[in-house]
């Protein structure tokens, strides 16, 4: 079976090449069919491989497919090679599955865009890169995918590049990600150079993890922290989250696919993949969990007061990614991946639904200008509702199982601060999601008559994929029902062979504690988070349905706090004035003062001194290059004679 793993990324590659090189004259429907079926075939291949994998003994579920040698220099050796194991197959299923739905949807959403072909070319290239990222068997090839998805993100955020805001957002995303990648690649160097002292010259996951005990505690902490810097860039965590809200300038299917469901979760995947290393570095784990929960809380507070439909969802994504990092940070690696999967369904769906709303509202994004959409777009409303319930953690929906698993694990492994913040953030999440729902879909329509007249439900090509994702948002959690609710957490079992953390003590103890927790305590904790979510929903109901005057008064009453939140804590302004402007000023100084003012001034100064001296002996100087050449010859002869003379004696 290993021999055809390469087919998974191969199909999107073919789709990219066909549409990219030959597609200029194709009809739109053809372009759409080629792009979507490329992903469909890829999804199908992944499914087949998944079932084949299930047939194999759990501990033998590891297959590699070497394609060719890549960078080989001295003893250093890497290959282009793919790997299939429970973790990569879960990721590949999520990526191809959600991508397939979004590819179908995009055919409707982008239908009238002049850049239709370019869009699908980029989208196929993105899926290809993402699959390289999750299927690679080594850090270095993973980095190829890692930067590849960054490129596609850049191209797709700036898809409508005539808008300065879009072009700026794309550049910002790429540069901020590069800052993260700077850490990531230093982490790789540290791995290679440390192992090379023991004669190991590889970046293959297998080899590195098997030899993990060769790292000293300090080294492994440094490595994991550096890799985490990469993750904060790609997965939009504090302090590098700033690019993601701006990334909403891209077409909405892109926000859904890249900036919610797949690419932004790459950091979580990377940490789960490296669970052996992270388990050896408890200090790093603490950092990951705390950064995660702070990001979850911090961005949830920003989402409370925003009025832009997509930006609310963007801050929500940042916040939910924070939860995933809490999961992997407290050592519950499979819980992090579980939330990654359910989030891919419900957040992907939320964005598609927002796209459907934009489609109907002629691109309007301000929720204050919506209202009452429930009536006009029933399908969109209902799928949006499913996803909202899922993200709010209402029992029975997928988000409940995955988020609760993370909170429960963090509580039980003794991260009380993390648990408190996480639970509060869950309340905020329920509030801002229902605020969004109530303001946009309930109440009286507030749009102008013209827009209202054109309100319509989206075509089937858009609604069907949303319905599929809605179903997934509901039932997606049932693969991971915890034992306490009568399930057996199949998801965790499936991932167990790779998520063992290399059998390190800290993780074992944590898992042990979790396994032996009392059921009543677990029920209590569950009840707490459900109650918090219900409070959030109730407050939203009171604010936006019962008494719409209240939030306005509240905002007026707490002017300072409101302004701070509304302006996202002024972080962008701070970064701009300190880092961006600081760099530009320094660069200008180097150019004007150092380069022109000092170095070149000296050069020209020497030249003019020579020239004025030359004035005195003008008769010897003609100013022609031949003369200079001649003087070189003379000088050379003099030196030659000198040495010749010296060598004689």
């Amino acid at each position: 079976m290993a021999s055809y793993i390469w087919l998974i990324p191969f199909f999107p590659m073919v789709g990219f090449l066909i549409n990219g090189l030959l597609g200029v004259k194709f009809k739109r429907s053809w372009i759409h069919i080629i792009a979507a079926s490329a992903i469909g075939l890829s999804f199908l291949t992944t499914l087949i491989l998944f079932f084949e994998l299930l047939k194999v003994e759990p501990h033998a579920r590891h297959f590699e497919n070497v394609i060719f040698d890549w960078i080989v220099a001295g003893k250093f050796h890497t290959q282009v090679a793919f790997m299939l194991d429970p973790l990569s197959v879960v990721m590949a299923l999520v990526v191809t599955g959600v991508s397939f739905m979004i590819h179908i949807y995009s055919g409707g959403y982008m239908h009238d865009d002049p850049g239709f072909r370019r869009f699908f070319v980029y989208l196929n290239l993105f899926v290809f890169s993402m699959l390289i990222l999750v299927l690679s068997n080594s850090f270095l090839l993973m980095f190829v995918g890692w930067e590849g998805v960054g490129l596609c993100s850049y191209l797709l955020i700036g898809f409508w590049f005539e808008k300065d805001s879009a072009a700026n957002a794309g550049k910002k995303a790429f540069v901020v990600n590069r800052i993260g990648d700077f850490g990531f690649i230093l982490g790789l160097f540290l791995i290679v150079t440390t192992l090379s002292k023991h004669g190991i010259w590889s970046l293959n996951f297998d080899v590195v993890f098997k030899n993990a005990e060769l790292f000293s505690p300090a080294t492994v902490t440094a490595i994991t922290l550096l890799l985490f810097v990469g993750a904060t860039g790609k997965s939009a965590q504090i302090p590098l989250y700033v690019w993601l809200p701006d990334a909403m300038e891209g077409p909405t299917p892109v926000s859904s696919l890249i900036h919610a469901a797949t690419m932004v979760t790459a950091g979580v995947y990377m940490i789960a993949r490296c669970n052996v290393l992270y388990s050896m570095a408890p200090g790093t784990m603490e950092v990951v969990a705390v950064v995660g929960v702070l990001t979850a809380f911090f961005s949830a507070t920003i989402a409370l007061v925003q009025n832009d439909f997509k930006r609310i969802l963007a801050y929500s994504t940042v916040s939910q990614l924070g939860y995933m990092f809490v999961g992997v940070g407290v050592g519950a690696f499979s819980a992090g991946i579980f939330h990654l999967m359910t989030h891919a369904f419900f957040k992907g769906l939320l964005f598609l639904a927002s796209g459907s709303v934009m489609h109907a509202m002629a691109g309007e994004l301000n929720i204050q200008k919506m209202g009452g959409l429930k009536k006009f777009m029933p399908v969109t409303f209902w799928v949006f509702m499913m996803a909202t319930l899922a993200i709010s953690g209402i029992p029975g929906f997928s988000g409940f199982f995955s988020k609760d698993e993370i909170l429960w694990q963090s509580f039980h492994r003794g991260h009380i601060f993390v648990w408190i913040m996480g639970t509060l953030a869950a309340g905020l999440t329920a509030f801002y999601m229902f605020r969004l729902t109530f303001v946009a879909f309930f109440g009286k329509p507030r749009m102008d008559e013209e827009t209202k007249h054109h309100l319509h439900e989206s075509p089937k090509v858009m609604t069907y994929p949303m319905i599929v994702l809605a179903i997934a948002s509901v039932v997606g959690g049932y693969v991971g029902i915890p034992p306490v609710l009568g399930g057996s957490n199949r998801f965790e079992k499936f991932l167990e062979p790779i998520m063992g953390g290399g059998g390190h003590e800290a993780v074992k103890e944590g898992a042990h504690a979790v396994a032996h927790a009392s059921a009543s305590l677990e029920f209590t904790m569950m009840a707490v988070s459900v109650i918090v979510a219900l409070i959030g929903i109730t407050v939203a109901y009171v604010f936006y349905i019962k008494n719409p005057e209240l939030p306005v008064r509240l905002a007026r009453g707490m002017r300072g706090l409101y302004t701070l939140l509304y302006n996202k804590y002024f972080v962008d302004e701070f970064y701009n004035s300190v880092f961006v402007q600081g760099t530009k000023d320094f660069a200008t100084f180097l150019w004007q003062k150092v380069d022109v003012g000092i170095i070149d001034a000296i050069v020209n100064g020497v030249a003019s001194i020579v020239e004025s001296c030359g004035g005195l002996i003008r008769k010897l100087q003609t100013g022609y290059v031949q003369t200079y050449a001649f003087s070189i010859l003379v000088g050379g002869v003099v030196v030659f004679v000198y040495f010749f003379w010296e060598s004689l004696f």
Binding site: A73, E162, V175, L186, K584, L590, W591, Y628
Partner: protein, 529 residues
């Protein structure tokens, strides 16, 4: 090597074939411009084809010089006509013949005056560059080194922009200063070798065996290094480069960036380091420091440039900083990365200059503020520009990544702080290139002059496609290229290390001997007393 090739002086043919082209060009009437261009193109293409057997026939399993030709030239002075290539020069030779074809193509409509002289200069330059890369005799090398200078000086001074004379003279004088010092050092080495062995020779394979005392090495290294550092150019000897690039015609810039700058880095690896390795080791901290400063400084200054061509010129300072850094980290990964980066820079910066030239030909400006929104008007151009940009910022999958990765990996092994600072260049690289790309290609198409721009014609597309192929080939399957240099690089490192070790032993033995003498001397003195 096959029996057939052993008898054909393939290297001489490759060096002098462009001169045959020059002869043909001399015979063509200057009015007949298409014949002139056609002849130059045909000769450059044949030249490229002639160089192909080198890479096909090259034996990657040996570090010995291959295709060697050795004829005594001036016997009394020990000057030889000595040619040969190894895995290091091989790829640079291929790059030279490859880029020359593209340069001729790119000059098709850009050059309006003296087209005959222009094409003659071009081919003449090719002979100079190839000769310098292939010579294994210092005098021969020096001749070709100087030969290169003249056509380049003319390319800038005759076919350049408005400040061409200033730029050309600056270029010429800068390089001359270095050349003079180098010549003195060559002569000093010549006499020192004679002193040690009683033989006069400029044969570098023989000179390699000379292991000079550290003091002498330091002086001669400094003289050679200055010549090459100016050519690279390393910070702070770089200020001739932005002027030369800005004023040079497109093809001049491509050749200047693609090959001429590599003469500096090649000089280090072929002459400076193997001849004076102990001194080279002593200079490691200084050169690495200057290299890292160059990387960051070049990138920052590039960021604020208003002229696209000047921006690319400063980015060269940054990229060449990587090359020098890798070379002086002295391990397999870093040195191979360094050589790879020499090729990459030729490909990607060459591409950027070609692209800037194409837009200049249409708009007669290179100022960033005169553009904006071009991607909509000229999408094919935008695609090529994007690919060249990505290659320049080292996106994985393109050639740039392989070089930068290996250099940084090797440097990290040798010195972590330098690697960390150098790696910030990767962030800055993305910042200045993408910012420039955004201002030129994205945004609103709001200038009337830009609304009538024509997209690339077939000749321009044909010029750029080979580059795009190289970008991805070198990025996806680097083994083909690195495999060729593997043996030469490991041999280079081994001999350098051996020689340094021997010098160290000699010095410590000499010191022990001196100590002994001193002590025994003291004893003698005591006896007399």
């Amino acid at each position: 090597m096959g029996g057939l090739t052993a008898h054909i002086p393939i290297l001489s043919i490759i060096i002098f074939f462009p001169m045959v082209g020059v002869l043909f060009l001399l015979l063509i009437d200057r009015e007949n411009e298409s014949a002139i261009k056609g002849t130059a193109l045909v000769f450059s293409i044949i030249e490229f084809c002639l160089s192909l057997p080198l890479i096909i026939r090259f034996n990657p399993n040996t570090a010995d010089y291959q295709f060697v030709e050795k004829i005594p030239w001036v016997k009394s002075l020990g000057i030889q006509y000595f040619l040969g290539i190894d895995g290091i020069s091989l790829l640079l030779i291929m790059l030279t013949t490859f880029l020359t074809v593209l340069c001729v193509l790119s000059s098709w409509s850009a050059i309006k005056n003296y087209i005959k002289e222009y094409m003659i200069s071009m081919l003449f330059l090719e002979t100079g560059m190839l000769g310098a890369l292939i010579s294994l005799d210092l005098v021969l090398f020096y001749i070709f080194w100087e030969v290169m200078l003249i056509p380049m000086y003319l390319l800038i001074g005759v076919w350049g922009g408005p400040r061409r004379i200033y730029a050309a003279v600056k270029f010429f004088l800068y390089t001359m200063v270095g050349s003079v010092l180098m010549m003195i050092a060559i002569l000093a080495l010549y006499f020192l070798y004679h002193k040690a062995t009683g033989v006069y020779t400029f044969d570098i394979t023989k000179l390699y065996q000379l292991n000079l005392p550290l003091g002498a090495q330091m002086w001669m290294f400094a003289a050679f290094a200055l010549a090459f550092a100016i050519k690279v150019p390393m910070f702070p000897f770089h200020t001739w480069l932005p002027d030369a690039h800005t004023e040079a015609p497109t093809a001049g810039s491509v050749i200047l960036a693609g090959v001429l700058l590599k003469m500096g880095t090649y000089g280090f690896i072929r002459f400076c380091i193997p001849l004076f390795p102990s001194a080279a080791f002593k200079f490691v901290p200084l050169i690495m420091l200057l290299a890292v400063i160059g990387i960051i400084y070049g990138a920052l200054v590039a960021m604020m440039q208003k002229d696209v061509k000047k921006l690319v010129a400063y980015s060269s300072v940054s990229h060449l900083g990587f090359v020098m850094l890798g070379m002086f980290a002295f391990n397999m990964q870093s040195v191979e990365g360094s050589i790879y980066q020499m090729l990459n820079h030729g490909i990607s910066t060459g591409a950027l200059f070609l692209i800037v030239g194409m837009i200049y030909e249409r708009r007669h400006t290179r100022l960033i503020k005169d553009f904006g929104g071009l991607a909509k008007q000229i999408p094919i151009f935008a695609t090529f520009f994007m690919i060249a940009t990505l290659s320049s910022i080292g996106l994985p999958g393109t050639n740039g990544f392989v070089g930068e990765f290996l250099i940084l990996l090797g440097t990290f092994k040798a010195s972590r702080p330098f690697a960390v600072f150098a790696a910030t260049g990767v962030i800055l690289g993305a910042a200045y290139m993408l910012w420039m790309f955004q201002r030129v290609m994205f945004g609103k198409l709001d200038k009337d002059e830009n609304k009538v721009l024509k997209d690339l014609n077939w000749r321009e597309v044909v010029t750029l496609i080979p580059i795009v192929i190289m970008v991805f080939w070198m990025g996806i399957y680097p083994k083909f290229f690195i495999g060729k240099m593997e043996k030469s690089v490991s041999n280079f490192l081994m001999t350098v290390n051996k020689k340094v070790e021997a010098r160290r032993l000699m010095d410590s033995k000499a010191k022990a001997l001196a100590d002994n003498l001193w002590q025994s001397g003291k004893l003698k003195v005591q006896k007399i007393n």
